[in-house]
Symmetry: C2
Subunit: 338 residues, 2 copies
């Protein structure tokens, strides 16, 4: 056991995109658990776009972490020492302790993991918050009617690709939007979308028209940015939209240059009764068991597929995180091994 | 009885704001009712912003009237000849027969009016579609919690002023937004708002801040345009918005110049769970009796106040209509007497 606890703490609230200098690397003493607590050692760190929100100064209205506190986020950890009757040394758990080697927990934020049921990294991906976000957005926000056309943005990403597969399983015609030929090929060849749209292609708007001869009944919006004003013109009357993430806007501090599409969106809500809803997983975590009951066998049996990149090294956490926002990210779920 | 039936018909679909040349004046023969029909003579014509939608080429997705057909809209009419058992010559009715002297009806679109219960023009204003729009938007779309702050745009207008009074009766703190000192004085002195905001004032944004120390719990949006991006920043978590009209956008064909506030609105829906709903009165007319039961005594007894301008002359219909959109309209309900 090393003598120190490595941490990346929040050094500054970013203006716009996060930079390396917004994180400080420090080494602390390893803490000791009190009665009723455990000492956990993080072995896998989840890298997700919403973590930008935790840093503050973005679009989010959610609580942000304090300057000097460890960067937040889900991890997989092993119990190093237990003074809690519910956990034994060597147990695996999913924790929310963020970018540090060691943390203390009273157990209330821990979910026990069985590595014989599903590989540990899935607890951060298809069987973690990533999969839960897709599942909740597809299941508990709107009633999506079988046979309708569901459009999913960021469809090749870790949340979007889950949503695509859930949409197909629920009998919808699924149209995936992604950027670049590799992602489009993944949508068609692996995920089996009914149509794919490459938003980076020059004929993007023409692709949208071709893919949506009967308009949009449901939109799983996972991206934000300039794609949406093109898509929204295809909303059918009573179209449903669920906002699961607007990654391209997480770092925005000022409204972008025009044209101003807000009046048009209001008109579409007004005249086509488009119903836009959002949710936040922190408020609905009580449905996690229901999600795991449905999804665990599907993921374990390979009926639902996923992609992940396991990257080496605690030191790489800030730079790996920043790749989510610089356009180089492949769409695979990013996990860093300590 | 004149030998002819004067009509203003739709000559062209406007690009942007309606112009006089979009209407044609024609004179037809007076029609004759068949068995089961009535001949009605329009005596009062309602002038409303949503009629722009009926002309086509605007934001609306609703059915538009055909070129060559009479301009649509509600009227008060008297039965000139009846071959229908439910109507007698001399009966007063509210009809939807639009800008023509005479029309035939099978009675299914007529609402009988008793001039001894309420003045006939009220059937086009506080006890007509105008009042119904305000009542429905305040009653049947969201649950507005007493004690919360309700903002109403276009608050001095015919729909907005009804909504203000209903909001006060329902125990809300009502903040009215209107343009110019006269309208603001009307809001404060006659309608009794808790705070008024003049969107034409130089210190508009400061007025918004002063009027909303505890943010917006509910927004009755009746106007559209550049006011909304300022207001939306004050949405509280779980704020409710009902879209009852976006008059400033009815004539838009292209999105206006930026900045682009759409991403910010999406963020607010995402992070503050703002719930935006719209409705269209044509689909909810079955609630008209419930509305009339509640509102008729309040209007007749003067507990709910309203303003109207009764203008003379069938010939003035197009020009009167156009004043709704040229910035000269006082906010009073406009009614034209044949």
């Amino acid at each position: 056991m090393p003598a120190t606890n490595r941490k990346f703490t929040l050094a500054a609230r970013p203006e716009g995109a996060a930079r390396r200098s917004d994180f400080a690397f420090i080494e602390d003493a390893v803490p000791s658990p009190a009665e009723g607590e455990v000492l956990l050692r993080n072995i896998l760190f989840s890298i997700d776009p919403y973590q930008r929100n935790l840093m503050g100064n973005g679009s989010s209205e959610w609580p942000v972490i304090d300057i000097g506190a460890p960067m937040g986020g889900p991890t997989v950890a092993v119990i190093e020492e237990s003074r809690h009757p519910g956990f034994a040394t060597g147990n695996y758990v999913q924790s929310w302790s963020g970018w540090q080697d060691y943390a203390i927990s009273d157990g209330s934020d821990l979910r026990k993991l069985d590595p014989d049921t599903a590989p540990l990294p899935t607890a951060l991906g298809p069987l973690g918050l990533t999969g839960f976000t897709a599942w909740y957005g597809m299941t508990n926000v709107h009633e999506f009617k079988a046979g309708g056309t569901l459009v999913i943005t960021g469809a090749a990403g870790s949340v979007g690709s889950m949503a695509v597969q859930l949409g197909k399983r629920r009998g919808l015609r699924v149209v995936g939007v992604a950027g670049g030929k590799d992602k489009v090929a993944y949508l068609k060849d692996t995920l089996g979308v009914d149509a794919a749209i490459d938003y980076k292609a020059e004929d993007f708007e023409e692709q949208v028209r071709r893919a949506l001869p009967e308009g949009i009944d449901a939109l799983f919006e996972n991206v934000g940015g300039p794609i949406f004003p093109v898509l929204m013109e295809h909303f059918n009357t009573n179209a449903k939209m669920v906002i699961c993430g607007t990654i391209s806007d997480y770092s925005e501090t000022e409204p972008p240059a025009g044209p101003n599409y807000l009046p048009r969106l209001i008109s579409l809500i007004h005249y086509r009764f488009v119903d836009i809803k959002a949710f936040a997983t922190p408020f609905v975590m009580h449905l996690m068991p229901e999600f795991l009951d449905e999804m665990t066998p599907l993921v374990v049996n390979g009926e639902i597929t996923y992609r992940e990149d396991l990257l080496e090294g605690f030191d790489s956490l800030p730079n790996t995180f920043m790749t989510l926002f610089d356009g180089t990210h492949s769409g695979k779920k990013l996990i860093v091994k300590a």
